[in-house]
Amino acid sequence: MAMSGMRGLSVFISDIRNCQNKEQERLRVDKELGNIRTRFKNEKALTPYEKKKYVWKMLYIYMLGYDVDFGHMEAVSLISAPKYPEKQVGYIVTSSLLNENHDFLRLAINTVRNDIIGRNETFQCLALTMVGNIGGREFAESLAPDVQKLLISSSCRPLVRKKAALCLLRLYRKNPDVVNVDGWADRMAQLLDERDLGVLTSSMSLLVALVSNNHEAYWSCLPKCIKILERLARSQDIPQEYTYYGIPSPWLQVKTMRALQYFPTIEDPNARRSLFEVLQRILMGTDVVKNVNKNNASHAVLFEALALVMHLDAEKEMMSQCVALLGKFIAVREPNIRYLGLENMTRMLMVTDVQDIIKRHQAQIITSLKDPDISIRRRALDLLYGMCDVSNAKDIVEELLQYLSTAEFAMREELSLKAAILAEKFAPDLSWYVDVILQLIDKAGDFVSDDIWFRVVQFVTNNEDLQPYAAAKAREYLDKPAIHETMVKVSAYILGEFGHLLARRPGCSPKELFSIIHEKLPTVSTSTISILLSTYAKILMHSQPPDPELQNQIWAIFKKYESSIEVEIQQRAVEYFELSRKGAALMDILAEMPKFPERQSALIKKAEDTEVDTAEQSAIKLRAQQQSQTSNALVVTEQSHANGTPSVGQLSLVKMPSMSSHVDGNSADPRLSPENGTLTVVDSQPSSADLLGDLLGPLAIEGPPSINVHPQPSSNPGSDGTVVEATAIVPVGEQANSVQPIGNIAERFHALCVKDSGVLYEDPYIQIGIKAEWRGHQGHLVLFLGNKNTSPLVSVQALILPPMHLKMELSLVPDTIPPRAQVQCPLEVINLHPSRDVAVLDFSYKFGNDMVDVKLRLPAVLNKFLQPISVSAEEFFPQWRSLPGPPLKLQEVVRGVRPLPLLEMANLFNSYHLLVCPGLDPNPNNLVASTTFFSESTRAMLCLIRIETDPADRTQLRMTIASGDPTLTFELKEFVKEQLVSIPTTTRIPIQQTPTSPVAQPTSAPAALTDPGAMLAALL
């Protein structure tokens, strides 16, 4: 059985298999890990065979799901073994254990490169495979030219070239800049003439990636793709070994057709004609056969052909052919074909002419909604959702509602959201819409998000005709013995607002309404209690003439909740109690809610957002976007004809304008949910100043102090009674302190110091992301300012406060960031001379009444201008000796160092681009690192670092730093010290102390150098 020939490994696997339970297995694994760890400690004594064996065992243990947090170095080191068997194991285990972000991979770049450019074909294959599977950005930058050379080399055999093609694909995905479009387009076209089908398959995958980003550059590939497709479809000149169940490489056919879908059109009539001939042949010539694999393979080709036909906007006749095929597919027994039929029919919906033909299959699609397979049901749901319009909305939504009661939990939320959206978009009349939503809440209350019931409330509030109907319906549901809490919320809200419209009906007097609603109170949560209290206040206000008995009952409830521990409930109880004793004033304050501003439906928006989130650069999606631009307009006009009511839902299809036109500083915050409604009313219609003060008082105190905003000098003086009084009247939002950042700003900054993209700052309104590229002494940063909300951010200002040594230029930042939009602002950085000072971004904006101003450190720090460089002993020692002593070479004994194992320290150095060169220092307790520093004054300058650690006391070490520039040596020494001494946050200058004007920025470096004390300290 054991073909492996590694007895130890087989024994270990058998042992694991013989374990009776998980506990035993864990013990066995722990024992083995302990064993491996001790063996690795004395690496020199290991034979290559043993090393191989242990590395395989590690991979096996890792595969079983255990953490293997050591030995990665040993796996990586096998890569540089001279013999094939060890090298092979090193490559394969490394690519299985590590992912592209792992630091150790960096250590291997040079070895890998040597294997790629070396003459040994087998080594080339191993290296290309690993880079193709886990190579990251750094690999892309350092290896892409070599890989390209192999791919086009005429002296390389196909087995190397096909690997090079996919390896290049990976590198291109990691960094598209590594493929130079101008030079590469012709080469790519030449590659398509390749005779070897293995190389051609790989090259076609590469082409798909290239054209998906930039089809224009690769026009010359288009006719060649059609040629390849013809050759395959006609089965001309295809070696036997490249047919799969009699089909000429189905994979290559699929890929070729995929590549063709990225070209917008095919203009050349001859090319178009021959392509359509091929497609026609595929569409008509694919039969269902008994052999599963043959069937799958031929249908893989067929479905890709369908997608291509759709993309090319073929004549109507061919399109109907496609729909007919799909109609056949959705009714077959084979589940895969049924699934794909539904999926592709959904895609087909984007083709304008065929929607009516698809509608003919509605009954069959509804049947699929009851399929035993959830995957198929999901497709059916998507298709029904997509094909729904005014003509069939009633049928489809009612089917969905029916299905809701039997659907599994995994689908209910999506189902109810989709039903709600369709009901809103295509409601033939509004009472039907109300019916649907109430049924939805009744049947699947747990899965109905708040957005759904907020929306129905908005509709009812904005449509007077609808109000009595909705109130009556809500009253009906309350008679049911057990109703969902959401139903309690929505009925209570509607009856509070519009219950008085039912007053003449039986069972609908204020008293009766109150008692039936109040019955539910013991069973509901606190958020619902708040709504009920508002409802009671409204009922009380509507009972004219006042009913003393009802009044006492309700007052007793308010009194009871005055001592509630929930602040929201307590506040409402107190306020309503006081208000309701004011008599006439109550009428104004508790009057009906004003109409909601018409705006995009939150539901539809939600649906759109999820679509955008998952959108990728796919041909189909791109197409969908192009189409939706025209179709929006269509729906809007169609709707306003259909019913004369103010079309709230239809407006939703127009994206931006409807939003921005409604938002201005004074209007009620559009995000306010109906729950907070009462407060808004009081807010905008103040009856007296002290009342307003009362209401806002507690909220103002409640506002937690912010940690990131600095005290404004203007608000400091006179911090006594007057100021307090003033802030009590100021709307809560006016205070700059009210917005809290999300996440720790300092941590985000430190994370960005070692990586090049990530989030710099985030609060509830905005997210500032950063992406940086560094080349020598220049940096190209992009700030991504993302508005997270549905209202614009205004008065946006970004000011860069650069330190002396950096020249920074920020492109124009717009004053306003539209809702949900992201603005990109490039920032160019030039490093003039070495310094550790940090640039600051002073960023401010206004959202509603909130003024936010934050000062953020920018991660344009010293190590960004370092590039790791690996030096050999022959290069290192002459350099080291040529820099004799201060000020070019500085030495310092550092105490109070964070105790770190040597390996972690090496990682730390590597993460700051100080490349640790193992083996240069004979003492294993020492580290030697090298790097190149770039600035305008120093140009590229080599820096050498040596750290001598004391194994007996890890908290101290001696470091020596050498470079050709005294300032650089000093700054680098201080920089390294800061990283080593303790947690970086405490050693950095706290943000508050950073001077706000560039002029005031002290030039710390020269100052420190002229200070004899500091000099002395540095030299010791």
Partner: protein, 161 residues
């Protein structure tokens, strides 16, 4: 592209994992846990595709083993399903009617073979013959190295006798 390849036994034991998109170790364990829950519980005779976190998982069961490949939403599902079968056929040819035990004790061979089939989550070679030839060449390289080493140690042993 194929984001990862997963071989799981009916009991939920992992027999092979290969990640073409970067996942941390924690994420990898989570993915395996979640997917075993989804795939292993599916009844027979359903379709071979499962929608999962905005991706699709194409899977197929061979005896006691589930072969799973996770692809992007817009990828061609059937094409990937046949990549799975293609892989199984190559394993079958190499081991001579492959069974789960072969893949347990020779899991490293399965990795070698997969690397000849896929790179960067894309199909590299669609000819079974070519893959078989390349794997055989690798094996013989290893074999030769072993012989060299043993003959060398023989010489040393002889010399030091």
């Amino acid at each position: 592209m194929i984001n990862f390849v997963l071989l799981i036994s009916r009991q939920g034991k992992v027999r092979l994992t290969k990640w073409y998109s970067p996942y941390s170790q924690k994420e990898r364990n989570k993915v395996i846990r979640e997917l075993s829950g989804v795939v292993l519980t599916r009844a027979p005779k359903l379709c071979n595709f499962v929608e999962w976190r905005g991706h699709k998982v194409v899977y197929k069961r061979y005896a006691s083993l589930y072969f799973c490949m996770c692809i992007d939403e817009d990828d061609n599902e059937l094409e990937v399903l046949e990549i799975i079968h293609h892989f199984v056929e190559i394993l079958d040819r190499y081991f001579g009617s492959v069974c789960e035990l072969d893949l347990i004790f020779n899991f490293h061979k399965a990795y070698y073979i997969l690397d000849e089939l896929l790179i960067a989550g894309e199909l590299q070679e669609s000819s079974k013959k070519t893959v078989a030839r390349l794997i055989a060449a690798q094996d013989s390289l290893v074999e030769t190295a072993k012989e060299e080493a043993s003959s060398l140690s023989n010489i040393i042993a002889q010399a030091t006798k």
